[in-house]
Structure formats: C-alpha cells, structure tokens
Symmetry: C2
Subunit: 156 residues, 2 copies
C-alpha cells in the first residue's frame, strides 16, 4: 500500500511533540520560541536533567499520554557523562521509549564527541545552532525531514 506524501503531511505534523533535554535556561527559552515560530502545532516539552526527562517518559507510559516523537539531548548536561547516562536510560527504558530517535546537540564539533555519540546509539549529531535564526532554520529542516518525509515511530 502506498500513500501520497501530501496526505501524510497533514496528519503527521499535527500535534508533533519534541522532548528537549537542556540544562541552560537561556537556551531553553531560545529553543522553545524558535520551535513555536518555525513548526506550527509542535509542542516542546523541556526538561533540565536526566531525572526530570526519565520521569516524564515514565509518566507518559503510566498515564497513557502520547510519548514524544523525537528527543533533542544536550551533550554537556553539564558533563558529557550526564548525557551518555541519559541516552542509555532512554535506550533501556522500554522498546517504545528506546525507539524514539535521540539527536545529540552541542556547541562542540570535536570529532570524538561526534563519533562517541554515534557509537552510543544517537540517531544523529548536530552542532548547536548559534542564534535564534539558526534555530528556526534547524527546526524547519527537522520538520521537513522527520515529519514530512520520514515516518517517525509512534506517528503512523
């Protein structure tokens, strides 16, 4: 069975939910505003720590609330080890949670940060956009690829 791209778009981009795990309050605000401006209808759920994020995911399962379709994880949370631990927890929580794509983002473009993110099972790696305009560009591209071209787990 094949379905047309246009029909998919309308259904899939509605009620998009992205979990953003970021400890910097300024960045949180910037990301939330950029998402609202570039991706109509998307909801940003922002958590500052591993504990808060995992609690939120567990709560979705327990209460039957829809899981986020996508996770953005800050690499320096504030240390890399915090992000690696969070990633591992997400992967091992349950099949449903573990299948959510996790994109690691960071101001770092060091090769070892990029390689290690992929080694540990991140879906992709982005260098953190430098300002509001760049975040808007980023979310537009994210929407084009993940919502309008690919099909995310839990969104079909």
């Amino acid at each position: 069975m094949s379905i047309s791209r246009n029909r998919i778009d309308v259904n899939r981009t509605k009620n998009a939910r992205i979990l953003i795990i970021e400890d910097d309050l300024d960045h949180q605000l910037l990301i939330k505003n950029a998402l609202q401006q570039s991706f109509t209808g998307a909801e940003a759920v922002i958590k500052s720590t591993e504990q808060e994020a995992i609690h939120y995911l567990d709560e979705c399962i327990q209460t039957g609330r829809r899981l986020p379709h996508f996770i953005l994880l800050d690499l320096y949370l504030p240390e890399r080890e915090d992000a690696w631990h969070t990633l591992k927890e997400i992967q091992n929580r349950s099949v449903e949670i573990g299948n959510i794509p996790v994109v690691v983002f960071s101001s770092s473009s060091h090769s070892e940060d990029i390689s290690e993110s992929y080694d540990r099972g991140a879906t992709s790696y982005i260098v953190k956009p430098v300002g509001f305009t760049e975040w808007i560009d980023y979310f537009r591209t994210l929407k084009d690829y993940w919502w309008e071209t690919a099909i995310l787990p839990g969104n079909h």
Copy 2:
C-alpha cells in the same frame, strides 16, 4: 569550539557517498538520476543484494577507501527478511560500518513494517517516493538534514 553552518556545508556536501541497496533495476535508475539532479557532487553506489552490499563495505575497509556516509535499504529485497538480515550484518560488521545511518524505504506504509524497522535499529523509515519528482524532493530534504544540518559519522 563552535563552527559556522556555512563553513560546514561547503566541506561536508562535497564527495557525499550514499550506498543504495535496491533490487529493482528500474528503481535503481530512477534513484541514481534523481540523486545526480538534486545533490550535486554526491555519488550513488548501487547494490542489488545483501551479498554485494556487504562485499562492497568490506572492500572499503580492506582497501582504505572511504565508507559511504549513509545507506538506503529497500525493505522488500525481495522479502522483508532479506532486508532485516542485511541490516543486522551492517550493524555487526564493525563499529565504523555499524555507525552508518541506515534508512529503510519501502512502498509499504504498514504500521508493523515501520515499527519493526525502528525496533531493529533503522535510523529512520520512509515510504518510497512514487516518482522522479518525489525522489528529487526526497534527496533535497536528505541533503538539508543529514549533510547541511547534522554531522554524519565519518564526515567531520
């Protein structure tokens, strides 16, 4: 260290190499032409079977040739089991090969095909574009996300 997006683009989209595993000869031609038209400088390496694809990846390692940055894997190759087996071989070959993102594509939009692709570690799932124009759109989006926004393993 942060680097500007524009500087990244120039370096990264040059010499992009995509391995496409697709058994239908008509689709192979369509995909190759669409890629050439929508992603200047990208090279499509097309293989028809698991055996050919794995042989190519092994040869890259043995001869020191650059690995592809990205893999597109047809789900019905001609059976799903062939694609699952290919995916597993890629994941278990070596860390370097196993880290290459594998996007599963298929004319099917069945929930179980989508869920199982993610369960088995596919990076993402796309419903196969229906024609040449749709393939061009797809490759443009692919380039925007994976080459111009994210950083792929082995491309930094």
